[in-house]
């Protein structure tokens, strides 16, 4: 499995961001984690991320939906894995987030165990190769 180089957390709720960061530090201590708590700073923070970074973006930042931000981030950095998180997320929100370019959209877990499961899955997903590996003994065309 490829190790993701970095995680950017974009969330105006600093408590949630810090808790996610804390859990990430225990799951993947070598991965750099940056927190951005303003939508206005999201694109700038994204620029500084290494290729293949995992971007966790809150659905509502200061009362404003983040879907446009996801569209812009996906256009600017298609190499990044963008995942939308929210305290409350409907199936419509999720479908819209995917249409905007997010890899997934999920509700924030209510337990630490849930955060550990979620973030370990996301780190694994973001770290997976972008194309399936060529089976040994065969040659790519």
């Amino acid at each position: 499995m490829r190790i993701i180089p970095a995680v950017l957390i974009i969330d105006d709720d600093l408590d949630h961001a810090r808790i996610a960061s804390l859990v990430l530090r225990t799951l993947a201590p070598d991965v750099a984690v940056e927190i951005c708590h303003e939508a206005g700073g999201a694109m700038g923070a994204l620029e500084g991320q290494p290729r293949g970074a995992l971007i966790l973006v809150d659905r509502l930042i200061a009362g404003v939906e983040s879907f446009d931000t996801v569209v812009r981030m996906h256009a600017a950095r298609p190499d990044a894995t963008i995942v939308m998180l929210s305290a409350a997320l409907s199936s419509i929100d999720r479908a819209y987030a995917l249409a905007c370019g997010a890899r997934d959209a999920l509700e924030k877990p209510a337990s630490l165990a849930g955060w550990r499961d979620l973030l370990s899955t996301l780190v694994e997903v973001a770290g997976a190769p972008l194309t399936p590996p060529v089976p040994s003994g065969t040659r790519a065309a």
């Binding site: 709720d13 408590d15 949630h16 305290a87 409350a88 209510a110 337990s111 630490l112």
Partner: protein, 203 residues
């Protein structure tokens, strides 16, 4: 609204767990148990709030959920259950509803096992009577009113599922009520039913 309420609630729940993980052992060793009691209270309160907020969220989602009303044959809606009815042409009846939403209500109440569902036809509706669940012993009338009357008591129970079901059914011209003999669902018929003649012939 549910986002605004759930966000700080998540913070409380997670903070309680973090305190438990980092300080729980120390609190348990202390001669005074006040710290542990406070931690338990924080966690129990947060879980209770989460349960009640989840109930509000499920009703709120039922209000916004996209529905696809279609002409649904009653026999399809009731498939897998034992149907009891005096109306001879019941199987040819078609209701105007979102079949998935109605099946969710039926499955939520009856579970996976076949249940007895009584059906009668009025001029405008097919009225389904489903068996009462134990959790409905104290509930009569509209489940949404019961849920609003006591979130504490009904959140997380079948009343919550029925309240969401009521919201969906009412958006499609139907209704739902809990009565002494069962849970009644009114599903709009697409056309008035043909009645059986006393001599056994259909009209």
């Amino acid at each position: 609204m549910s986002h605004d309420l759930r966000s700080p609630l998540l913070t409380l729940s997670l903070a309680g767990e973090l305190i438990e993980e980092s300080l729980g052992d120390r609190l348990r060793e202390e001669s005074s148990s006040s710290g542990l009691i406070a931690l338990d209270a924080l966690q129990h309160g947060a879980k209770d709030l989460e349960r009640m907020l989840q109930a509000l969220t499920s009703v709120s989602r039922a209000r916004r959920r996209p529905l696809e009303p279609s002409r649904a044959p009653l026999r399809l809606l009731l498939g897998g259950h034992l149907v009891i009815s005096d109306d001879v042409d019941l199987r040819s009846q078609v209701v105007s509803t979102d079949p998935i939403a109605v099946r969710e209500i039926i499955d939520g109440l009856c579970g996976d096992d076949p249940a007895e569902i009584a059906v009668r036809l009025t001029d405008d509706y097919a009225v389904l009577r489903l068996p009462l669940d134990d959790a409905l012993a104290e509930v009569r009338g509209a489940p949404l009113a019961a849920l609003a009357g006591s979130l504490q008591m009904h959140a997380g129970t079948v009343v919550e599922a029925l309240a969401a079901g009521q919201t969906v059914l009412e958006r499609m011209g139907g209704r739902i009520a809990v009565e002494d003999d069962g849970v009644h669902l009114w599903l709009p018929l697409t056309m008035p039913p043909t009645r059986a003649h006393p001599d056994g012939q259909n009209a």
